[in-house]
Every structure is written in structure tokens, then in C-alpha cells.
Symmetry: C2
Subunit: 108 residues, 2 copies
DNA sequence: AAGACAGTTCGTATTTTTGCGAACAACAAA
DNA sequence: TTTGTTGTTCGCAAAAATACGAACTGTCTT
């Protein structure tokens, strides 16, 4: 049907997935997931990109809800947003675990 | 370090995530995951976008390895690529299940 | 007041993504 | 041979993503 939009769940997973859809952002998330928290500078240090670009990627991850940051003058502390991280974990697990394809009439 | 690249795992998750990072593609994957397989026309029918656009999204999902398609003249049958789907399931589960953040020194 | 420090924001350039209609290809049916 | 059916590909336009240096903000330190 041409009128129907996408479900809220599809859009939410797409939002999370889009945020995770860049190697630099995956590296940031990996780095943050390994510890309780860290500063912008620590993140910048392990990435091969300019600080302005790091800042932009952090903003996107924050907008997607996967991380959060707070000023700890003169630095900025970033960490995983545990609540949404858990939501993402559940959504991806449910979605990817729900394939009905048996292969019996499948391509290949 | 400015010289290091991203890990293969980070790039692989990013590839899958990028493919899933659009509502239309999530809708396609949802639709395909519900059944063994279906034709292009069935997919086009449930999406609010032009067939050329649907074809493009299908191509991206295929390039990412999440689906596969085969000609069944005069139609084209699409289905989930079970092998990579399972790989994606494992990668996302491992990644999202591996957060060390305790909240003890976390923002918020 | 002047610097130094830690990040963010701005302006800009390049590339990629998204979307569509029109044209096309392949094949079956009339 | 002409027509119809099913999708893909092409060409284009608009929007978004990516990346960077320069400039800026706010807060300490001197």
C-alpha cells in the first residue's frame, strides 16, 4: 500500500543502526563500551580523524541516544547511555532472532 | 593513534548497520523475515516508494549480504541470506551485550 | 589582562544517499 | 510481430553525510 508509513519499531531500529553504520562511530562505541566512561580527548586519541569530525560523530551518537556526555570542566566526559543501549540490544536481538526463513523455498 | 584503522569486526557491523539504517530497508527486511521468500512485486506493494527506489534498496541489502535474489522468470524471488543474517545476529548480540558500563562513574 | 587547555561550532567542499520517471531488457502470450 | 508483464538500469536532482581547518566559548593559570 502506497500510503502506509513504517512502524515505530522499524524506525527506531533504523535510527540505532544508522548511528552504528559508520566505522568511526563503531570504534567510538566499542571504546566506550569497554569502560565506564572517558573524556573526549581519549576518544580523539584512538581515532584517525580530526577533532571536529570526532565531535560531530559524538553528536550523532548522542542524538541517536546511544551515548551521553556531560561537562567536567575543562573536559567532557562521555559514556554509553545504558538505558537505550539495552533497548537497542533487545530490539536487534528480537529482530535478528525472528527470521522465519527455513531455506526450503529460498534462493540458493 | 592517528595511523590505526578500524577493526574488521567494526567494519562488518558497520556494513550491516548501514544497510539496516533506513526505514524502508528495515521494512523490507521485516517483510522478508516473516516468510521464506517472496517476489519483488510483493515487496514493492507494501512500500510507499517507487519501484526504481525499491530496486535500489534491494541492491544495497544484497550488497551488504543480508538478502539474496534469484530470477524466476518473469519474476525475481528475494529472501533473507540466512548465513549472513546469523552472522549479523551474533555480531550485534556480542557487541551490544558487551557493555562494561556500570553507571558508577557514568554521566547521568 | 594574557595565555593555555579542551571541545564545540561555523563555513565550506566533496562525496554519498535517496528518490523518481523514463528507458530498457528478457521473456511469455496473443 | 506486437503486446504485456516484471524488474533493472540510466540520468538527473535534491538532500544528507563526511571531513577538515579556522574561529570561537568557557574556564583555569599566570
Amino acid at each position: 500500500m502506497k500510503t502506509k508509513q513504517y512502524t515505530e519499531e522499524q524506525e527506531q531500529i533504523a535510527r540505532f543502526a544508522k548511528a552504528m553504520g559508520h566505522p568511526a562511530r563503531m570504534a567510538i562505541l566499542s571504546f566506550l563500551a569497554k569502560q565506564d566512561s572517558c573524556f573526549f580527548g581519549d576518544i580523539h586519541e584512538v581515532l584517525p580523524i580530526a577533532k571536529a569530525t570526532v565531535s560531530q560523530h559524538l553528536k550523532e551518537l548522542k542524538d541517536a541516544g546511544l551515548i551521553q556526555g556531560e561537562i567536567e570542566t575543562p573536559k567532557v566526559r562521555y559514556c554509553i547511555n545504558r538505558e537505550n543501549w539495552e533497548l537497542a540490544r533487545k530490539l536487534f536481538a528480537a529482530f535478528l532472532g525472528d527470521c522465519k526463513c527455513t531455506g526450503t523455498s529460498c534462493c540458493g
